[in-house]
Amino acid sequence: MKCNQAKNYMSSKLDSELSRKKSRLLDLHLKSCENCASRWKDLQKQEALFSEISFGDPGEKYWKNYSNEFVFKKRFPIYRYVTAAALLLTILGMYFLNIFYQDDYKIYDLALANDQQAQRVILLKEKELGTVDKRYFLRDERFLKVEKFVLKLLTLRKMSDSFNNLEQLYARGREKHLSLYHLWQTDKKRSLPIVVKALDHDNFYLLALSLIKESERDAYRYFATLNKAVMWRVLGDLRGYYSLMMLKRSALSGNKEAIRALGKRSSIKAARVLFTCMNRYQIRGDAVRALHCLRPFSIDLIHEKIRQDDPVGIELSTQIFDDRTAGVLLEMTARTRNFSKIVNSLSKFKSAQNVDFFMNLVPYKKYRSLALSVLATTKDSPRVNRFMIRGLQHGHLHNEFLKAIGNNVSPEMIEPIVNVAYKKGLSLIATKALLHMPKKKIIPYLVVMLRSSRLRKSASVILEKLTNEDFGTNEYLWINWLKRSEI
């Protein structure tokens, strides 16, 4: 037995209401528990004390006067009179109110018939007293003809039932936009599910969205009830923290809809989320497309990443860039650990800024062919041409220069190439480089080349390709043809 139970048993035993069995159990417990045994003794003493204790009699004098002190008389049942008076007043009030209301209803009917003056009176009454019976207007869809007036009436004062009335108007009226707006203004929390539901309809989308932007935190719980396509659209159009976090979670778990929605958000925060998505191979393509949509925010972010020497940012710069990107990449060339990536990225920008960088890069074997091909296709032609000609004349890198020049169609280059062509081992590659030059300019050079025993064969092949004539290696025939032809 536990001590708590023993306490109850002791009380019962004092009342002589404990059964024999329980009494035996209690005795057993008392033998084993000193505390309870002492308690039992105290309780017994206490019980004896109850009968001994005296509370003091106030004396005979007091008792004699006791009954005289109060005179029994029926207390004035004031509450009965009060109740009766209240009832009477209520009945009278109802009677007069009824008279007033009858007058009121005449005005209501006038207002429903689009009487401007009556409407003005009702609005004034509602504003000052708030006693207009609004349900009268809502009954049997009476409001349909004067919906704007009824809306104005309902929103004049915030009453306990104004929300329900407005809801009724929204459900059955025509001015749904206005009703929705006022529903929101009356009680944001209660109207949230209704507003979220309105997102499903294209007509209400913009209004509902602008309302939801005000309390995105509460609204985003209801998004799950929306159609999936609409949900992603909404999340893309919102600008708050909660929707962004929702998109982030979905995007990182590989949801492509979420990535597309992020692309619509036009903020650098969304760009950051998309940038983290770049680490996942499966969604990289979608993330890049979304980042494209996010320009210029994504470009700013990429510049930031390039400055932080982030390889992903450097790679992305070839796809998403603006006029400043080349400059940012160039800045980084001096202190980057991803030099080859930067060079690759820079090679995509055919701007005059890069020319110096690539010219300086030519002596390095690793980057030479890349640098030369960039230089050959760059737009800053006079400077680059001079550089290329110098390379052809003095350098010992004819081979690589010639390969790069293959892309350059500047006529200034013809003469240096022809000069190189006479050098041993370079005839074939040099004549191939000439292929892309303007026909009119190179044919005389090729005809002259026919005199050289080394160049004769390749020159005749190219002449045949260019002119579709077959005079073989005979120089005179070609000269005659040249004179006759209109070229």
């Binding site: 308690r39 005296s54 106030p58 109060f70 207390r75």
Partner: protein, 179 residues
Amino acid sequence: MARMNDTQLILQFKQGNTRVFNAIVERHKKRIYFFALKLSQDHQKAEDISQETFLRAYNKLHTLKEESSFVPWLYRIASNYYRSIIRRPMLKVVSDVDLNSLAIDRQEEDDNEMEKAMKCAIAQLPKKQKVALVLRCFEGLSYKEISQIMGISNSAAKAHVSYARNKLRDLMERTNDEM
């Protein structure tokens, strides 16, 4: 009138003879006064409770259906009123009566230490337990009557008394230790 029992007196009262109520008061005034005194341990309050009890009884006696349960009904009124006044802070009324002349004060001096400790401990009990204990141990009512008076079940009444007895013992022990 003195020969009539409570039931007869009440029946007469219900028939319109309101004077018989004085006889009822005479018969039960001490019982209710001392009950109130044990609960409140204050003469002023006991007087207030007992008088209010009889006033309420006078006004509501016509609603009493079982005349035989008049005494528990009186106890119920008294205990309810007691519980209602200790719920709110009492306004101190300066009475014209010279309280020093009352025998209660003189006798208090004679109270032995044990009784003092007991009264002090009773005053500290929670109000429901206090009412149950007083009704059981001082007034000697059965648990059925206590449950009627307090508007609780029989077992709840037993539990209240048991808790009160044990708590009283603990409080007494603490007081003895302090002394």
